[in-house]
């Protein structure tokens, strides 16, 4: 297996933990993993990304343009920003909910999530848009967007790991008092599919 995944969003959304959980699942399967992410000043509300590369024969943790198999977008505009890194025929799983940049809140400049999503729909055939508001309401916590998205990618067949592997990663990497909430968030997308 060889897989290049980009997780992107806004500082504080939990991209790093999501990246770490996928890495843990890959490690458990005995696969080599490399990753790189934004740490430091840019974390404070800036655009952040995590590059994750799984498989043999990899030198650099960074992904080149047109090389990502999957973009996990925690924010529609940030997913658009990273789109040049998606390979032809690659898959994207994107949260529908925008995070308003302070700059546009202040200037009143329009930032429309709908416009971003329309663009993603035009460019990415294999696209899953996640209804974040509903998901967070159903799960009952505003803090688990990362696990909701991981679950959505899992159920869209985009991760390359199955639900048991991801559950094991959560149990291994997250403190016990948060297990129940995170497992619930992971399974949300599956329940939506089942309900349809």
């Amino acid at each position: 297996m060889r897989k290049n995944i980009i997780l992107c969003g806004v500082g504080g959304q939990g991209t790093v933990l999501a990246s770490r959980l996928i890495s843990a699942a890959a490690m458990a399967r005995g696969l080599p993993v490399m990753s790189a992410e934004t740490i430091g000043m840019a974390q404070r509300g800036g655009s952040v990304f995590s590059h994750l590369r799984i498989g043999e024969g990899i030198y650099s943790p960074m992904i080149a343009r047109g090389e990502a198999d999957l973009i996990l977008g925690f924010e529609p505009g940030e997913a658009v920003r990273m789109l040049p890194w998606l390979k032809e025929g690659g898959q994207a799983v994107v949260s529908a909910r925008p995070v308003m940049p302070v700059t546009s809140t202040l200037s009143g400049a329009a930032y429309s999530a709908e416009e971003m999503i329309a663009y993603l729909k035009e460019k990415v055939a294999n696209l899953t848009i996640v209804d974040t508001e509903k998901a967070l309401n159903d799960v009952g916590s505003p803090k688990v967007l990362n696990l909701i998205l991981l679950g959505a990618a899992l159920h869209a067949g985009a991760l390359g790991f199955d639900e048991t592997e991801m559950r094991d990663a959560i149990l291994a990497r997250i403190p016990p008092k948060f297990h129940e909430l995170n497992l619930r968030a992971l399974s949300w997308a599956g329940q939506q599919q089942a309900a349809k």
Binding site: V10, G11, G12, S23, A24, M27, P32, V33, M34, S35, A36, E37, T38, I39, G40, M41, A42, Q43, R44, G45, G46, S47, G57, Y59, S60, P61, M62, I63, A64, R65, G66, E67, G77, V80, R81, L83, P84, V99, M100, P101, V102, T103, S104, T105, L106, G108, Y111, E115, M116, Y119, K123, P142, K143
Partner: protein, 606 residues
Amino acid sequence: MHTEFLMGNEAIAMGAIAAGVNLVCGYPGTPSTEVLETVAKHRPEGTYVEWSVNEKTAMEMAGGAAYGGARALVTMKQMGLNVASDPLMCLSYIGVKGGLVVLVADDPGPISSQTEQDTRRFAAFAKVPVFDPSSAQEAYDMIQEAFALSEAYGMPVFLRPTTRVSHGYASIRVKDPEEYTRTVPEGFVKDSRRWVIFPRLSYQNHIKIEQRNERLAEAFSASPRNFILPAEGKMKDCRRGIATGGFSYTYAMEAREQAGAFPLLKIGNPYPFPEGKAVEFLKDLDEVLCIEELDPVIEQALIYVCGKYGLKTRILGKQTGHMPTAGENTRDSVADAIRLFLGLKAVKPAEDTPPALPVRPPVLCAGCPHRASFYAVKQAMKGQKTIFCGDIGCYTLGNAQPLDMVDTCLCMGAGLGIAQATSHLEPDTACFAFVGDSTFFASAIPGVVNAVYNQASFTLIVLDNSTTAMTGHQPHPGTGRTMMGEIVHCISIENILKGIGVETVETVDPLNHALAVETVRRVSALPGVKAIIFKSPCVVLARPQGRVTIDPEKCIGCRKCIREIGCPGLSFDGKKAVVDPAQCTGCSLCSQICPVQAIAGGEIHA
């Protein structure tokens, strides 16, 4: 040996532990911070770890440990090396007994630094050998070699990762605890002819250092850290080669997989430069492109080698316009440069015009007490001639709109110097210096002494959030915790200021907006040096659980809350202000400035 998934900085720490390190000290700075934190987390018995008050003290600590035969590691970012350069330069001349590794993380970009200075260059200036890792695995292996080399030659040795090496993660092979080296230091042995630096000793040691570095250059030429990959396959007659080092090596290798196996020289020890290995690489090539970040160190070394050995190879890179002179390399920029250099067809990115994307500069967190502090000073000083001298830390972000409260930012502690100089030359300006609590201890105290004694007039604002926030919440002398896990007596900023002779020192909760504004008005009008300590914990650490709510019936949509404080937890839905419950901490600054009391809930700070 076993496999672990480690951040580059964690790998460096585990390498130091495997090398039997006895003392680790440093000062936090992105991208170096996690090295010391990881050692502290795993601290083997008998290892001493501390966050020192600044890099100079840390370097002196590490030198002292190595005098006694201990293995010592000192960690800092590249800017920190400037602070520590005085002891480092002298340690280079005096030498050490135990292994001393100086870990300095460079920051191409720069991503979170003031300069793009290159520690490989500093190594040459200080005559100290340097290891330049390209990956977490190499960093893990190199730090162990660096300890051994330092001890064998009795000199400090640099390990210089860059941001992507320090912060990248990889599954790497590491030693089991049974395989670790154990170091039992002999202890300090009195020998004033060795440990007391005098001009005559410096002269004698200078001769020895130059001879030693010639021998080291030869040793590095024979070391597997500096190697040549020959041309192979369809490239086997290629007379163009790539010389590279550090993280750029990984980009060059990815390009080599794609473009074909061109000849490649990897430099893992840029100083003393492995000339022998370079000659072996250059002699059969017409042109070499150098791919490195920050300064053209390899490039200039190769030009020097060509001159010294009469080689005709053309050396290309930053100085010939073939590579950018500033900023980070990327997978794509390196692949494109190599294809162009080899005469291969360029890979064109798809032409496309995505919708305009929002700019997201970093901002102070929702609920950050620094926002309230800046806003209080701004309100109090409205209409007056002012200068607001900022400093290094999260609070540098006070420069962003709408606060716009940082007129200068230079280096740690510099705000005090700038404010007092202005006060001497422009007596009608109300001068302010803002400094964080960790920065206060690290580098502001001499500035206060200077100001009080030399009769400057300015207001020192200490933004005390009880942590070193920007680098990830390290303890400092005001927090009462040490890296050895001890709970100790805090050093009081207030007492220090009073001890120096600052007569007015007031401590206020900045989130009590009315009181904060009144205090600034009153205190800043006093003559001489005066101080206000705005004390309120960092929200990322304290995690307050409050939330404000906005009553849409009462909100008149005036946008004052948004316009005035720029909190990322507030936005405007077109008619009314709305709160993002995922970000709000309930600091209630917005509710204190709402003209119609539409915002309720959160904490009471009156």
